[in-house]
Each structure stands twice: as C-alpha cells, then as structure tokens.
Amino acid sequence: MNKHIVFFVHGVGDDAKGWSKDLRAQFKALFDSYPLPPGGLPFAELFQTEEIFYNDLFDEWRKRVAKEAGDALRMLGDGGLAGSALARLLNAGAAAGGGGFLRTHALDALQYRYLRLVSESIRSAVEFQIMARLNETDFGTPVRWSIVAHSLGTSVVHDTLHEMFNPGPGAEQSALFQPYAVVMLANVSRLLSNPEVLGDDVDAYSSFVRPDREPGRGACRYYLSCANGFDPIALAGDFEPPPAWLTEQAKAQRRFRPLDFKAIPRNRQVHGFGEYLAHPGVHVPLFRILAGDQDRISDAQEEAAHQAYRADNPLLDAGDLKRRAIEALGLRAAQDDWFERIAAWRDVVDQFAGK
C-alpha cells in the first residue's frame, strides 16, 4: 500500500543535499507528539517524507565560471596583464563563486526571478524529483502526495506545479497524478510570479495552482498558505487571493486555508522553515488535512498545543527592542522596493539566525 508522500522544498540559502534530514525528523516527532486516536495509524504507516533539492542549480554555473576564471588568473600570475579590463572581467567571474549573503540568498532570489535559464532548470529538477519518486510507488494502489514549501521554495513550487498541471501541451495526462495538498510557508509565489513563465496576464491568483475537488479546475485538492505576522518575507509575499480565486463549492468545502498567526519564536527566527511547522496554528490543520481526518487532533488537544507553544515562546512586550526591530522589518517589507526587500531579508537572516 502506498503511503502518502510528503515532499519538502527549501527556500534560499546555502542548503546542501540532505538539508531536510532534521526537519523531516522533527515533522514526524511533531505528528507523533499527539495521541494516536482509536483506530488511527501512526506516522510511519501513513507518510513517507522526501526532500527536494535544487540549490545546486543556483551554484553550478557560478562555481564553474569561478573555477575557470580563477584558473585563468592563476595561469597569468602577476604578469603585466593583471590590471587590464580583461583581467577585471576574469575577476568578476571568479568572484561569482564566492559565498556571503548576497550570493547565497539575494542572488538566488534574483536568479530565480530574472534568469530564465536558471529558473527553468530548477523547475525541471523539481519536477523530475517528484516524478522519480512517484514512479517508485507500488503498482496497483492510488498515489497520494503533498508538498510543503518554504519562502523562495513557494514560488518554485507554484511555478513548477502550474507548468506540470496546467491542462494542455506539456501536461498530458497529468490530471491523473495531481498533489493532494500544497502547503506554502511564507508564501512569496505572488510576489515573484513571472508572466513570462506562467503565461500572459497569469499570476499566482490566476494560475492553475488552486484547490478544487475536480482535477480539471485546479492542480490540488487543498491549499494551505501560512504567514507569520512578524515575518517580513511573508508580509512582503502578501498572499491574499481574491474571492474569484475559488469556486463556490471549493469555498464551501474550505479547500483553501489561510493560516495566519503572530509569533516570535524563542530563537527569534520568525522566518524559519522549522519554526513555521512548529507553530500549532500551522501544523494542526496541516496534520488533519494530510491525515484526511478532522478528528485526528481534537479541539482540546489543539488548544493545549497552543497553550504549550505560548508558554514556551512568550510574545515579547511591545516595547522590547528585539520585537520593535522585527516589526520595523515588517514595515519595510511592505514597501515595493526590491533592494529594500532584499536588505530586509538579509537583516532577518543576520539578526535572527545567529549570524
């Protein structure tokens, strides 16, 4: 029998293959921290978690050109050409392979948005990793899968799913294997949506990535969009689809779940992947939907989880300097200036991830 496959998709940063090992273990621990209801199946019998990794495609061309340029510079040594314009171009190539926030975070987001060669290769890689895993499922039982994406990963997943499942050429028969739930944490799919990729006048509110019972009307059955009110990136993402986004039936069936909350975790990482999942306002509805069982976690258990979370992560006083700094970042994120957003992103990473 096939288990429900849950894919995890990273955002920006210097993630390496295997990046999700701890996250997936913690996801399981969270699920198992709730009492098993009578007749309920444990995590291991319900789910199989998988990692999706695409960061290498951001880095591959940078590292290659950096190596070639570096080799060339070394070959030239300290000769008379060192200060020439050509040498400066080589230096620019060599510098592309370096680290630092601008290259590992901001440049990744800009590459994804503006370098179609990079973004298309990333969508191709994500599609392949999904399909390769689905191809390994048991023959003769229906395949069920969901995807949980964070930050830039939400844009990657949105665009990939639109291209995979938007009916027409390139998506033949794809209605037969659509995802069950699409879960977007700090959703920037609208902010980064690119009509050149999605099609003329198509954005995250008019794409095929919307929840519906009918595979012909939407790419998934459930869509969860989660935003921490203190997270500048989620505030910049500002994912609030218009009423026309859903059919009346999909609205009645609550196929879309906007999961908004306001919390400052003890480690102050208001944007972290794990921090989002750790909040009961996110994982309780998520676990219920993934398990297909509204009663999987009772209302009393949900309330207890919220109380425990609040006790462990008390909200800072309004006058607290750290809180004021976080709120200031949120105000900046509401601006429409790209460089300002990138700067805010860096500040989030620097200030709240211990860098």
Binding site: V65, S84, G93, L115, L117, F139, P169, Q178, A304, D312
Partner: protein
C-alpha cells in the same frame, strides 16, 4: 538548523506534556502494524464517520483488507505485475502494460468492484446511494469497454472520481455524502443503535467498492506517471549537461542567453528543455598563443582573449549530452609580447565545447591561439610531435 531543531523539540516536548495531561488513554504509539480486526475492535466505540474514515486507510479495499473481493483485485494486480520466472514487480517503474492489457486489468477490477457492491442490500434505507454508486461503476465498465475516452463525457474513468475524502465525508465526485447518510440513520442521536450500525456496514461496503473502482484506474495513473517521469528525466539530464558541458557562462552571458531563451519558449506550455545554442558575449578566456614570426621568446606565450561576440550550437545526443558542437566568435587577444604587438583581432572556432582554435592577424603576421584544453593536449604530446610543428622556445 540546530536552532530549528531546538525549538521544534521544545515545542514537541511541551505538547507531549500537555497531551499527556489531557489524556492518558491511548497514548502509546504502536510498534507493529495492526490487523483490520484489531483496528475494528479499537473503533467499536468510535463515531461511525470516524470509524469508516480510519478503516478507509487500509481496510476497505486496501492492503490489509481480508475481504475476498479485495483479495481478488489484489491477485489481478499481482498477476499483471508478474513476469514469468521472476518475482512479482511492485513498483510503477517496473510494470509496463500495453493499452490492451491496461484495459483488460481495469475492466477486471471494475467487475470485482461491481460484484462487491452487489452484495450490499439494495432495498434498504441506503439503497439509493448503493444504486447510485453501482450505476456509476457500471457506466465506467461500459465506457471503458466501448473505448470511450476518460474526460468530461466519462468522468467515472478517472481515479479521482472515486477518491474518498475524509475531510469532506464524501466519495469523490459521486455526489454521495456519507455524513448525510449517517445523519439520516440517526447516528447523531444513537450512534450505537441498530439503524446506525446497519448504515455503517453499508458505508463500509460502499467505500470498499469505491476504492476498488479507484484502484481499477491505477494502471492509467501508472502509465501517466511513467511517461511524465521519462520526459522529466530526459529534460533534467539535458539541463544538467547544459550547465556542466556547454561552454561556461559569465553572469552577463547568462542574462543575455536567458532573455533570448525566454523569447524562444514564450509560446510553449509546460516545462521547457534547455536550448541547443548559446550566445557568447564579452567572454574572457586564456590560451596559449603561437606567433611564428615573433622573436623566439615571444613565440609561445600565455595570452588573454576576449570573445566579443560569438555563437555556439550543438545537437542533443542519445545520452542527453551536447554532441557535434560548433561555435565561432570574434575575438580580441592580448599577450605580453615585445617583438609583436600585444593586441590583435581574430576569429575563434570552438569544437565540442572543449577545444578552441583562434587565428589572429597583427601587422600582417598570423598568430594561433589554442584553448587551454587544446594547449594541454599539445603540450602533453611527444617532443617529436612538438618539434615537427616547431612549437616552443
């Protein structure tokens, strides 16, 4: 990630304590898979909707279900996945069926679903829903047998039409609302009354029939997944080759090529493969320059070159790697020479994204520039070979 781990662990621990305080019963997570009989026993006191939802995971047409109809369906899948003399193949990627074989398997499993539903009491209080479900199965049988394409005219031929959704308490797109059935049977007021028990048994049978019908269309799903995976694998391999084996690109070249690529794929739907070309723009490189007419010490020297503008193209080979690549660029070269001018204009020809040969002209003197790869090959060659071509000091 360590910080993430800490906070999740803390939250999980806090919730664990809260949950323990809330309910000590039913806490321990099982270590061995339970049988359907054990699950049913656990669910004896549960609300009927909760019970059928839990049983739907594996006990109503699923892997643990000991029901004879389910076992018959499983045998059909086992047979389809078997090749003589080999163990049964389990995974989608290993099972390749022809269109005719898929149709035969789908029809056979649909018949099992139909027979399974035929055992339910058609004249009872839930007779309308049973009849509705069975009629849908028979429409699917008829349409598949007559070669009707799945789609709007025949939605029953899609697995999603039958998928049980525990959140909505409805059987796919059949329009059957299980919550309403339980309400009608008085399950809200008397969940352990005989009417409710009878409806629960009926719903279990209907879910088994629906899930068998859904499984009947898994060969279609498997074929679609296989085909999509094959396309995606080829595309991904080409993209990786594009970045690893085509000529390297500086940031500004990637920008130019992205703009050009975007204009070529704008009208395409779905995820596109990589181009089989690249523009070369202001691309710095190094090579070994040979100018025979230069003074002896200037004849063979490292040189910088700038490919001002160029174009490189290839075809994709069977291994999804660039093959038969050719490229040409207008270049400006610079070498630290005294006996001949340091700079010269020239033309570079690229071959297979690896070897480049540049011809330059300066004051009527011809120079040759080898790419590093080509120069490496040259310098690895025998001294005799080098002497023959008078390369070196």
């Amino acid at each position: 990630m360590k910080g993430v781990q800490r906070i999740v662990q803390r939250s999980a621990a806090a919730m664990l304590i809260a949950a323990l305080a809330w309910s000590a019963a039913g806490w321990a997570q099982p270590t061995a898979q339970k049988s359907c009989a054990e699950l049913r026993a656990e669910l004896a006191e549960a609300a009927p909707l909760t019970a059928v939802n839990q049983l739907s995971r594996a006990c109503l047409g699923g892997a643990l279900d000991p029901d004879p109809f389910t076992l018959r369906a499983q045998r059909l899948f086992d047979t389809a996945g078997r090749v003589d003399g080999q163990p049964r193949r389990r995974e989608i990627r290993d099972v390749t069926l022809s269109v005719e074989e898929r149709t035969a398997l789908t029809l056979a499993v649909l018949r099992v679903a139909d027979e399974s539903l035929g055992t339910l009491p058609p004249a009872g209080v839930d007779g309308a829903e049973i009849g509705q479900l069975r009629e849908a199965v028979r429409r699917a049988l008829r349409d598949r047998g007559n070669g009707v394409e799945p789609g709007e005219r025949s939605p029953e031929q899609r697995g999603a039409y039958w998928t049980w959704d525990g959140m909505q308490a409805e059987i796919g797109a059949t329009g059957i609302d299980v919550r309403a059935m339980f309400r009608r049977a008085g399950c809200d007021a008397a969940p352990r009354g005989p009417a409710c028990a009878a409806t629960r048994a009926t719903v279990e049978g209907m879910l088994r029939g629906a899930q068998l019908a859904e499984r009947a269309f898994t060969p279609d799903q498997a074929a679609a997944i296989q085909a999509a995976e094959a396309r995606a694998a080829a595309r991904d391999a080409r993209w990786r080759s594009y970045f690893a084996e085509a000529r390297s690109q500086y940031p500004w070249e990637l920008l130019v090529n992205s703009w050009r690529y975007e204009s070529t794929v704008r009208s395409e739907r779905g995820i596109s493969g990589p181009p089989d070309w690249q523009w070369i723009v202001m691309h710095p490189d190094v090579g070994m320059q040979y100018v025979r007419s230069a003074a002896r010490g200037d004849r063979f020297k490292p040189a910088l070159l700038l490919e001002v503008i160029g174009y490189n193209w290839w075809s994709w080979g069977d291994g999804h790697r660039p093959e038969n690549a050719w490229g040409v660029s207008l270049v400006r070269t610079y070498a630290d020479t005294a006996s001949v001018p340091a700079g010269a204009w020239g033309v570079t020809v690229h071959r297979n994204n690896k070897y480049s040969l540049t011809l330059t002209r300066r004051e009527g003197k011809t120079g040759i520039l080898f790419s590093i790869d080509l120069a490496g090959a040259v310098t690895r060659a025998s001294q005799e070979w080098k002497d023959r071509f008078r390369i070196g000091d």
